[in-house]
C-alpha cells in the first residue's frame, strides 16, 4: 500500500457516507500512542496546527502553519498542493469560499487547542460530521514507506538498547541514561523517541525517568521507541543493575514465553483479543491469573503512531480483526510479585499468512554494570 491507496480508501468511505469535503486537522502533536489522522493522511508532521483538505473528486490541499515551514512541507510532500499560512482558520475559510465544500466531514477537531477550535467550528459549521472513526477504520494498514521506516526505527531501538547496556552503570541517574539513549538514537537517524525508562529494586510500573541514581540490585525497565521519518517502532526491555538473579531470569523467561504465544497468534483474520488471550493463558497456567489485570498491567501491547495507532490496545476486550500490514508491538509488560514490574515486547507486522518480526533479537533478561 502507498499513500495514494490510503487516500483512495478514504475517498471510498467518503462516497459511502456522502461526504463532499474532508477537513483533517492536525494539532501538531506526533505521538506514539495518540491519533493524528491529518498527519496520517498528509504524511507530514506539521510544526503548528495545520489541515489536510480532501474533496470527493480527489483534489487535495495541505494548509500548513507557520508560513515559514512551507519550505519543509514542500520538500516532504512535493506532490500535494500547499498553502503556507500564519492563520490556519483564515486560510481554510478562504479555501472553502473559493469552492463550496458541500457536506463536510472533519477529523481531529476535538484535539485542537480550544482557542483555534472555536474559530474553526464557526468555519466548518455545526452540521460538519465527525469522521474520525471512519477514517481511522479504513486507514489501519501501514504504507510500504511507513513499514520501511518502522523497520529502521526498530533497528535503532535495538542499537540504542545495546548502547544502554554498554554505558549504563550504578550511580548514573535514570534521566541521564535516558537522555544519552535519546541522543544516541538521534545520531543513528531517529527524529524522536518515546523512551519510558525507570529503575528500582521492585517497581510497580514503568514511569518517566527521574533524577534517581541507579543502584545495585535495581532492574531498569525501558520502552524504547525511536521514530524514523515519523514512524515509531517499539521494543521493551529489562536489565538488572549487577548480576541477574535466578528468580529474575526464570520469571523473565516466562514473560518471553507468554509474548511468543501471543505473537504466534498474529495473522490476518485473527482478532487482537486472540493475541492478548494467548498471553494471558500462559500466565494463567503459570499461576499468575490474578496479575492478568490492572493494576498489575496496562495492556498487552498497542499500535505504533505517528498518525494511526491501529489496531489499538492489545487487550482481550479488543475485537479488532487483524489485517495485512498492520504493525504493532506485543508486550506482556506486567508486575510479578517475585520481581516487580518487567518489560518485554517485540513489534510485528501482519503478513499475508502470519507475522513478520520487526526486531532482529528478541528480549532476554539483560544486565548493566553494578
Amino acid at each position: 500500500m502507498n499513500r495514494a491507496d490510503r487516500i483512495e480508501r478514504v475517498l471510498r468511505r467518503m462516497a459511502a457516507e456522502k461526504i463532499d469535503t474532508l477537513i483533517a486537522l492536525s494539532n501538531a502533536k506526533h505521538h506514539l500512542a495518540r491519533i493524528n489522522l491529518a498527519a496520517h493522511l498528509m504524511g507530514y508532521r506539521a510544526l503548528a496546527e495545520s489541515a489536510f483538505v480532501l474533496r470527493a473528486d480527489g483534489t487535495q490541499r495541505l494548509i500548513i502553519a507557520p508560513a515559514y515551514d512551507g519550505e519543509r512541507a514542500a520538500l516532504r510532500r512535493p506532490e500535494v498542493p500547499l498553502t503556507a499560512t500564519d492563520d490556519l482558520a483564515a486560510s481554510l475559510a478562504e479555501l472553502l469560499r473559493q469552492r463550496a465544500p458541500g457536506r463536510i466531514g472533519t477529523t481531529g477537531l476535538g484535539a485542537l487547542p480550544h482557542d483555534l477550535a472555536v474559530r474553526l467550528l464557526d468555519i466548518v459549521g455545526k452540521d460538519a460530521v465527525p469522521f474520525d472513526d471512519a477514517v481511522n477504520e479504513v486507514t489501519a494498514p501501514k504504507t510500504d514507506e511507513e513499514l520501511a521506516n518502522a523497520r529502521k526505527a526498530v533497528a535503532i531501538a535495538e542499537q540504542a538498547h545495546e548502547h544502554m547496556l554498554a554505558v549504563g552503570r550504578a550511580g548514573m541517574r535514570e534521566c541521564d541514561l535516558a537522555v544519552e539513549m535519546n541522543l544516541y538514537a538521534k545520531e543513528l537517524g531517529a527524529n524522536d523517541n518515546f523512551l519510558m525508562l525507570s529503575a528500582g529494586p521492585h517497581q510497580l510500573g514503568v514511569g518517566a525517568s527521574s533524577n534517581r541514581p541507579l543502584q545495585l540490585g535495581d532492574v531498569i525497565i525501558a520502552e524504547s521507541t525511536p521514530a524514523f521519518d515519523g514512524q515509531f517502532g517499539q521494543i521493551c526491555r529489562s536489565a538488572a543493575v549487577g548480576p541477574v538473579s535466578n528468580v529474575l531470569a526464570d520469571k523473565y523467561a516466562l514473560l518471553v514465553r507468554a509474548m511468543t504465544a501471543g505473537i504466534e497468534k498474529v495473522r490476518p483474520g485473527a482478532t487482537v483479543a486472540d493475541v492478548a488471550g494467548a498471553i494471558d493463558a500462559v500466565m494463567t497456567e503459570a499461576g499468575y491469573e490474578k496479575y492478568n489485570h490492572p493494576p498489575y498491567l496496562n495492556r498487552r501491547g498497542h499500535g505504533m503512531g505517528t498518525g494511526s495507532i491501529a489496531p489499538g490496545d492489545i487487550d482481550v476486550s479488543n475485537p479488532t480483526i487483524l489485517e495485512e500490514d498492520m504493525a504493532f508491538v506485543v508486550h506482556p509488560n506486567q508486575y510479578l510479585p517475585e520481581t516487580g514490574y518487567l518489560l518485554c515486547g517485540e513489534p510485528v507486522r501482519v503478513t499475508a499468512t502470519g507475522y513478520e518480526a520487526l526486531s532482529k533479537k528478541w528480549a532476554e533478561m539483560d544486565s548493566v554494570r553494578g
Binding site: R72, H114, A208, S210
Partner: protein, 345 residues
Amino acid sequence: MRILESTLLTGPYDWEERVLPRSEYEPRLERVRAAMAQAGAATLAVFGHPGNCGALAYLTNFTAKVGPAMGLVPLEGPLRILASGTPKMMDTAKLLTWVEDVRPLGNAPKNIAEFAGDGALATWGFGMVPQQLYGGIAKALAPRPLVALDRELDAALLHKSARELELIRGAARCLAAAADAFAASVRAGKAVRSAGLAAERAAIAAGAQDARAMASLSPGGVPLPLDAASDERVLDPANAAIAVQNHGYWASGSLTVARQPGPAQARAKAALAAALAGARNDARLPDGVAANAIGLSLDEGPATAFESGGVYAVTASATEGGKTAYASALVAVTDKGRDVLWQGN
C-alpha cells in the same frame, strides 16, 4: 521560536529545593490568588502540556513530561496537580513538584468540578486545552463560567526574579556551548543534521535539561525541524535556531555560519547591535529585529518594546539574493539598561 513537540520529555526535571526553594513560589501564589480574588474565583485551573508548561511550572515546578496536566489552586489551602499517567506513575510524578497532592488526570472534568466546589473557576492557559477536554470541563462546571485570567497572569511571568535570572544565565551558557558546537561542525564540513546533533550534545554536556537544534534546509534558508534522515545536507551559509533549557528556563538564539560572510550577515549584525545599544525599558525594537519574552516557556509572547525585568530572545535578520542571515542575542532588561546574557556570531 517554535519547535516540534517531543513525544516524551526525558531530562532531569525533578524539583530541587536548593535550585528553586518554596520561598520562590510563595510570592507567585500570592499574586495569582490576588488576581483570583479580584475576579471572584475560588479556584484557578492552570494547564500545561509537554510543549508548553510555563504557567504550570511557574506555580508548581511541575513539568508535564508524559502528557497534559492541570494545576488546581484554591484561594486558601493546598494545591493539587492532575497529571497524565496511571496511578502507578504518580510516585514519579510527585518528584517533579513541591505540591504533595498529585493524582492522575483521569476524568479531568469531574475531578476539577469536585475540587472547585460551588465557586467560579478561573483559568490560565486554557486556550491550549484540547477542545474536547475544554468542552467537558465547561459542561461539568456549568452554570458557573470559566473566567480566563491569562492577561493578568501572563504579565506576572514577564518579570524575572534574581534567582530566575541566574537560571536563565545558566541556560545561556548551555546555549553558547551549543552554538559554538554547531558553528565548529559546519566549519569542519559537516552537514546540518550532524551539526545540529553536535549542538544538542554540547548543550547537554554543559548541563542543559533539554536541547533542540533546527537548521536551514537550503543555503541561507529559515531554520526548520530536522525530522527526516534526508535533512543531512552540507550548506553554505547554514542557519541554525537553537533552544536549550536549564532547570525549566529556556534560552534560544539563531545564528548564521558562512564560509564568506556576506552583506546580509553584516546587515543582520548591525541591526542587532543597534537593538542592543538601545535596549532599555520602553525602548522599541528597530526594523529588521524581532524579539520575544522568554523564560519558563520558549516564547512568552512577542515584544514590540522592551520592559524592565524581562528577558528577551532578540533576533535580527537580513536577506540578500534570496539568502537570509541571522544574528541574535539573549538580553535581560534592567532598570539601569540591559545585560546581554548571550550573543551569537
